[in-house]
């Protein structure tokens, strides 16, 4: 029953309320970018991993610290990078003359079977 617990609880509840209110009506084309954006935000666990790793002092601690840091960094960096790429789609008015198509990897996870030069980021949602 500490003051700090009460403050933390208040902060938790208020942040929940902010989260509820900030998302209201969203067009469904934006659902995937929004999911990805909020996915990136919980990458803040990197901060937690840093603080926890700072007090590690044995092998187990170092291993866990390494795992936590790697996982969290992957979450945060990858999350923002992929969100940014997705949002490229929402350019208001792309060049009528298509830019030279950059080579596109075959897909990290190797599922791509689509032939031909692929170009991302040139469609968009007006509005």
């Amino acid at each position: 029953m500490t003051t700090s617990l009460l403050a933390d609880l208040s902060i938790f509840v208020l942040a929940l309320l902010v989260g509820f209110e900030v998302i209201s009506k969203v067009p469904s084309t934006l659902h995937t970018p929004l999911m990805s954006a909020s996915n990136a935000i919980h990458g803040i666990v990197l901060v937690g991993a840093m603080l926890a790793a700072a007090s590690a002092n044995d092998a187990a601690g170092y291993v866990l610290g390494f795992v936590a840091a790697a996982f969290a960094a992957m979450n945060v960096v990858g999350g923002y990078a992929v969100t940014g790429r997705m949002l490229e789609m929402f350019k208001r008015r792309p060049d009528p003359v298509p830019a030279p198509a950059p080579p596109d990897g075959a897909g990290l996870l190797g599922s791509g079977t689509g032939p031909g030069p692929a170009r991302d980021g040139s469609a968009g949602q007006g509005s």
Binding site: F12, A15, V18, G19, V22, I23, S24, K25, V26, T29, H31, L34, M35, S36, A37, N39, I41, H42, G43, I44, V45, V47, G48, M50, L51, A52, A53, A56, N57, G61, Y62, L64, G65, F66, A69, A70, F71, A72, A73, M74, N75, V77, G78, Y80, A81, V82, R85, L87, M89, P98, D104, G105, L108, G114, A118, R119, G121, S122, A123, S127
Partner: protein, 473 residues
């Protein structure tokens, strides 16, 4: 509280404002692109402030720095490269992967804290820490394994169809009981971290067995739900290590992710409990057997279809999941260009939930260089169907099903592309197989509809060849 700690706290607050503003901007397409850099800026601030604090506190050992640096660099590199390399259509599984590691990190953070506190025999853990730790470990571990399974399903490494094992519900119930029971035992005073590790393994298995029975097409909703769960796990990690930054950001994601999950489920006319119950959908790779091709259907030959298209004045192409599955976006663009070169007006009508992830069709056609101006959203496209000569439906089913206008079907209430108001309709699909919702489509038996049974990619290529032959191009 030192001045530095106070400043760090203020920086976390600033970061929280950036996160909220970022999400706010992403509510509308016009401002969405500004949201992500803002949010990322907040994140950079928060991490920098934490670095300063860790360095200033001085408790971290040299090895600690090395471990931390190596881990963070490795994670960042993997994250960055995979985000850069991934095909746009594989994004949901990548998001799910990032979500998995986020949940895993949250669980590990709690575990590390507990191990540190219980190193010495007879050590106790404060009530708030133990409750939060157990919640963090349970939710984080469940999210970790569940998200991996979800990613695997979407990627095709695990069959997308619902994998329902006999007695699965009972097993899930027992697993949940075991995981929670171990956690409670830990909380009740047995502060041995092995109990917590046991709880963690229970949750890991539970994550797998919960997601396996859910069909691949429901995965976007499941991923969104797991994303919200990770948010809550991170908030719990914040309680464990007493960091307001983690509590705020985690709760923010938990709540907004929850609302987003509801919106996504609503958009595809499904309820979240029904999705979680699993067993829905046939998966991505099933070879549909034609369930009763009745005599009412009018099959059409490639040549006839080509004639109709070549002599139309206005054509609308309706892409759906089948186009994505067959990776036929390039063939679609080529056919459209061919028709346009004959002076025919060609547009694509995009339903918001066509395909298997929100925005799927836009991404796909963007990849194939279809010009922006040719993509019509549902509200713009619907008034144009009555004046359209031929609608070419490519691997779309539910989004064109007129049954949605009637009550009592799984689609009831979903707005559809009103394809049946056009003069003529040509449907390319492989069989009379059902779509995601699993019901018959009355469009296929209408007089004006011609069914061109073929794989989307091959069908479109043959159509284009046929049109070329016809007009001698």
């Amino acid at each position: 509280m030192s001045t530095l700690d106070f400043v760090v706290g203020i920086v976390y607050l600033v970061a929280a404002i950036a996160f909220v503003t970022g999400l706010h901007l992403m509510r509308s397409p016009a401002t969405a692109r500004r949201g992500s850099p803002l949010s990322a800026g907040g994140m950079v601030l928060a991490v920098a402030a934490t670095l300063a604090k860790v360095a200033n506190d001085g408790t971290i050992s040299g090895t600690g720095w090395a471990v931390l640096g190596a881990g963070a660099l490795l994670g960042a590199a993997v994250g960055l490269v995979s985000a850069r390399r991934v095909k746009m259509t594989a994004i949901p599984q990548l998001v799910s992967l990032f979500n998995a590691v986020g949940g895993g990190a949250a669980a590990v953070v709690a575990l590390m804290d507990v191990i540190r506190l219980t190193e010495h025999a007879g050590a106790t853990v404060a009530g708030r820490t133990s409750v939060a730790s157990v919640l963090d470990v349970l939710i984080g571990a469940l999210t970790f394994s569940g998200s991996l399974i979800a990613a695997g399903k979407l990627q095709g490494w695990i069959p997308g169809r619902p994998i329902v094992l006999p007695g699965a519900r009972a097993v899930n119930g027992l697993l949940a009981l075991a995981a929670v029971g171990l956690g409670c035992y830990f909380m009740s005073g047995a502060y041995d971290s092995w109990w917590l590790v046991g709880s963690l393994f229970g949750a890991l298995v539970l994550g797998i067995t919960t997601v396996l029975p859910i069909g691949g097409a429901d995965m976007p909703v499941v991923i969104s739900l797991l994303n919200a769960c990770t948010g809550i796990a991170v908030a719990m990690a914040g309680f464990v290590i007493d960091s307001a930054g983690l509590i705020i950001a985690g709760a923010l994601v938990g709540a907004s992710g929850g609302i987003l999950t509801k919106l996504m489920a609503d958009a595809m006319n499904r309820s979240i409990p029904a999705i979680l119950a699993g067993g829905f959908g046939t998966g991505d790779t099933v070879n549909a057997v034609a369930p009763g091709v009745t005599g009412d259907v009018h099959p059409i030959s490639v040549e006839d279809a080509a004639i109709q298209l070549a002599y139309a004045g206005k054509v609308m192409i309706v892409p759906g999941y089948g186009l994505a599955a067959a990776q036929a976006q390039h063939e679609a663009r080529e056919l459209a260009e061919l028709l346009e070169s004959r002076g025919i007006q060609v547009d694509f009508a995009i339903h918001p939930v066509a395909g298997r992830m929100p925005g799927h069709m836009n991404v796909l056609l963007a990849e194939a260089n279809v010009p922006y101006t040719q993509l019509k959203e549902m509200d713009t496209a619907n008034p144009e169907f009555p004046s359209t000569d031929v609608v070419l439906v490519v691997g779309a089913n539910d989004v064109t099903n007129p049954a949605a206008r009637r009550p009592g079907t799984p689609l009831s209430g979903m707005p559809i592309l009103e394809v049946d108001r056009a003069q003529r309709v040509i449907v390319i699909k492989r069989s009379m197989g059902h779509g995601y919702a699993g019901i018959d489509n009355e469009l296929y038996t209408e007089e004006k509809t011609g069914m061109l049974f073929a794989d989307a990619k091959r069908g479109l290529a043959e159509l284009a060849a046929s049109v070329k032959a016809l007009v001698g191009a």
